[in-house]
């Protein structure tokens, strides 16, 4: 075992190891629940029942998942190109501005199916533009993209606060948010799909953005693994030197990847703004951009994995709300801990258990880890 990370069978690499990491993250979270003085197993049961037990719960779970699919894809696209986009939060937040402009201008004249495409374009464009500056600075001036995107999160937040307590706020209102959108900017709900299966839904914000998220997941898969651009991005992410040698323009690939990432982040804003709140309010993103980091890492940067991870986090959000209701000692901030633990174990410590699993595999079948013959049997 001279190379530390030898090959494992694909199912172990993409299935077993993430599951083990996830399991460990939840065990540690369980200890926190114990520390608070509650029973972690009971907490887990309440959480899962709250998320999937009733139709309303499922609809809420998928509503949250929609948001996380977008942010997860956003982080993943940048990551394939070797860029860490921490700015998803800010890109989504500022995209609310684009949506607000479209919705406030057209909600009284156009039907939703005309407002929606315009809002998609506006959200994606604003998000992409917000990612463009850090991307340009990274490509042309070598400014570290992690730092610049963090700074841009704060700048975005300042701009949005300024606009929402000032120009975008109706004069008569006190609340720092835009006026409520009219019917022309309200997206239809998708709850009937779940009701087809016989479940009853009281009121849940699941809406057509969910379908848009799934389409985007497919398009991202297409982009990354089936197009020249995606190939170039992966090449650059793997080895910038090799990419340069192959004649790939560094500037172009960084800026393209970041703008796609920013556009996906921007589209996230459609879900809460047009699908649920029907206005743009302060801090409507509320950390979803950061959840995207956890989702992307857990989904191993693959759209399919990201959708699954997003549903898991949707479950945590919805189930967590129920949990806070049943166990007052555990508020929804428990999810923030779980999120952190998932990022820690599935991200930073992703290789912690690898050597052990490799040893395990090697002892069962040496060929599965790419060894030619069992050691010590040389002629």
């Amino acid at each position: 075992m001279s190379t530390p990370y030898a090959k494992l069978p694909a199912w172990a690499d993409y299935g077993l190891i993430p599951l083990i990491n996830l399991f460990v993250a939840f065990v540690v979270a369980g200890f926190v629940v114990l520390l608070v003085g509650e029973n972690p197993l009971r907490a887990a049961v309440i959480l899962v029942e709250g998320a999937f037990g009733k139709g309303t719960g499922i609809a809420f779970t998928l509503f949250y998942a929609t948001t996380f699919i977008f942010t997860g894809l956003s982080v993943a696209v940048a990551a394939h190109c070797g860029l860490f986009n921490i700015g998803t939060e800010g890109q989504a937040y500022i995209a609310g501005l684009g949506i607000a402009i479209v919705c406030l201008s057209f909600d009284s004249t156009l039907p939703w199916w005309l407002t929606f495409p315009l809002a998609i374009i506006a959200a994606a464009a604003v998000g992409a533009l917000w990612a463009l500056i850090p991307a340009y600075l990274q490509a042309k001036r070598g400014s570290h993209i992690v730092i610049t995107t963090i700074m841009f999160n704060f700048i975005a937040a300042s701009i949005m606060v300024y606009l929402l307590v000032g120009p975008l706020k109706p004069a008569a209102s006190q609340a720092p948010q835009t006026r409520n959108f009219l019917a022309g900017a309200e997206l239809p709900k998708l709850n009937w799909i779940i009701e087809l299966f016989g479940a009853k839904i009281r009121s849940a914000p699941l809406n057509v953005t969910f379908l848009l998220a799934l389409v985007m997941a497919f398009l991202v898969w297409l982009l990354i693994w089936r197009t020249k651009l995606g190939y170039e991005m992966r090449t650059y992410g793997h080895s910038p030197k090799a990419a340069r040698y192959a004649g790939i323009s560094e500037t172009r690939i960084i800026i393209t990847a970041m703008m796609i990432s920013g556009a996906l982040a921007g589209m996230m804003a459609l879900n809460p703004v047009m699908g649920d709140q029907h206005n743009v309010a302060i801090d409507f993103v509320s950390g979803a951009g950061f959840v995207g980091i956890a989702v992307a890492l857990m989904g191993r940067l693959h759209p399919f994995g990201i959708v699954l991870a997003a549903v898991l986090f949707g479950m945590l959000y919805q189930g967590g709300a129920e949990l806070a209701f049943e166990m007052p000692a555990i508020s929804r901030d428990m999810i923030v801990i779980i999120q952190g633990l998932v990022i820690l174990f599935a991200g930073a410590l992703e290789h912690m258990f690898r050597p052990y699993i490799q040893a395990l595999f090697a002892s069962f079948s040496p060929r599965s880890v790419g060894m030619e013959a069992v050691k010590g049997k040389g002629a």
């Binding site: 926190v32 921490i86 730092i147 000692a329 410590l349 912690m352």
Partner: protein, 323 residues
């Protein structure tokens, strides 16, 4: 005299507001100089603030609180080290994780232990660090110019404030005048060379992170035990990131770090002071603009328009002994 008093007061709050930034910024200096990016300054400050206020109110001792803040903050720094040094994980991912764990656990544990909506009990006198009156401050208070400067600006801060500013020359001395500092800087530039010299890269980086943890712990304790009489959820409110910005602005140098933090603290103090009142010539400046200014300045600096910020060369790269 009104203008003069206003200036003194603004500068006084500049000092108060820049202390947590300065401590966190110096903390980041140790780890980044050793080649470990630390996005988790924010989280470590937050757990420090919580642990400090919680321990101080339970044990009725400010110094026990400070000690606990440092211990817990160092523990979080060690998690960062375990992930990014021992397991060679992505340092940024690890830092992000620490920020989340800190944000969530301080609220959950605070609520479970004290039942005050994530706050810790208000600290009583003796449980927090009181202001120190420098000798002779009262005697010369009425002397024009010098009096107010000495009595208002320099005197009347808590011990942590003086400690923070003493840490600047101390950090300079450690980094640039001791063997440990030389090695620490070397490990951030060229860890292979340090390894060849027979010095453990991992142990050196762990020690740098211990320094980081100590300083973020003090920074957190300052927030919850000096600036505020107790812990409030999310009380760091992005200060860890501003400290990071200040660190870049200071080009990873201790004395520059002090000036960067004072500048950012001044912007904060000025935005509080100017709230709503118009400036001459420029007119009314939105408070949000003043709040965003540190970030905007840092981006401009990073873009290379004001000098060039060159980070330690081995920053962010896990060290692999041999392949």
């Amino acid at each position: 005299m009104d203008v003069f008093n206003a200036i003194i007061q603004t500068l006084d709050s500049t000092i108060r507001l820049s202390v947590p930034l300065l401590l966190a910024c110096l903390a980041g200096l140790y780890s980044e100089r050793a080649g470990i990016f630390d996005i988790g300054l924010e989280g470590k400050m937050l757990v420090g603030a919580f642990a400090g206020a919680a321990a101080a109110s339970v044990f009725h001792s400010a110094f026990l609180g400070l000690g606990m803040a440092v211990v817990i903050s160092v523990a979080f720094a060690m998690i960062h080290g375990f992930a990014s040094i021992t397991h060679r994980g992505n340092q940024i991912v690890s830092g992000v994780a620490i920020n989340f764990i800190a944000a969530g656990s301080t609220i959950i544990l605070g609520q479970a232990w004290f039942q005050q909506g994530g706050r810790t009990p208000a600290l009583q006198p003796g449980e927090r660090f009181e202001a120190i009156t420098l000798p002779g401050a009262e005697a010369i208070r009425d002397v024009p110019i010098i009096g107010p400067i000495y009595a208002e600006l320099l005197s009347g801060h808590s011990i942590l404030v003086y400690l923070a500013f003493l840490m600047v020359p101390f950090t300079w001395w450690v980094l640039f005048r001791t063997r440990f500092g030389l090695r620490l800087r070397a490990v951030g530039e060229n860890p292979a060379a340090v390894d060849t010299a027979g010095i453990s890269v991992a142990w050196l980086r762990y020690r740098a992170l211990i320094c980081t943890g100590i300083l973020t712990g003090i920074a957190g304790a300052y927030l919850s035990m000096v600036q505020n009489g107790g812990f409030v959820k999310d009380m760091t409110a992005g200060k860890g990131y501003i400290a990071l910005a200040a660190l870049i602005f200071a080009k990873w140098k201790p004395v520059n770090a002090m000036f960067a933090c004072l500048l950012f603290g001044f912007l904060d103090a000025a935005s509080i002071r100017l709230q709503g009142s118009p400036l001459p010539i420029i007119g009314k400046v939105p408070a949000q603009f003043m709040q965003a200014l540190p970030y905007i300045l840092t981006v401009i600096l990073l873009a290379g328009f004001i000098g060039k910020a060159i980070p330690p060369r081995a920053g962010g790269v896990p060290y692999v002994k041999e392949r």
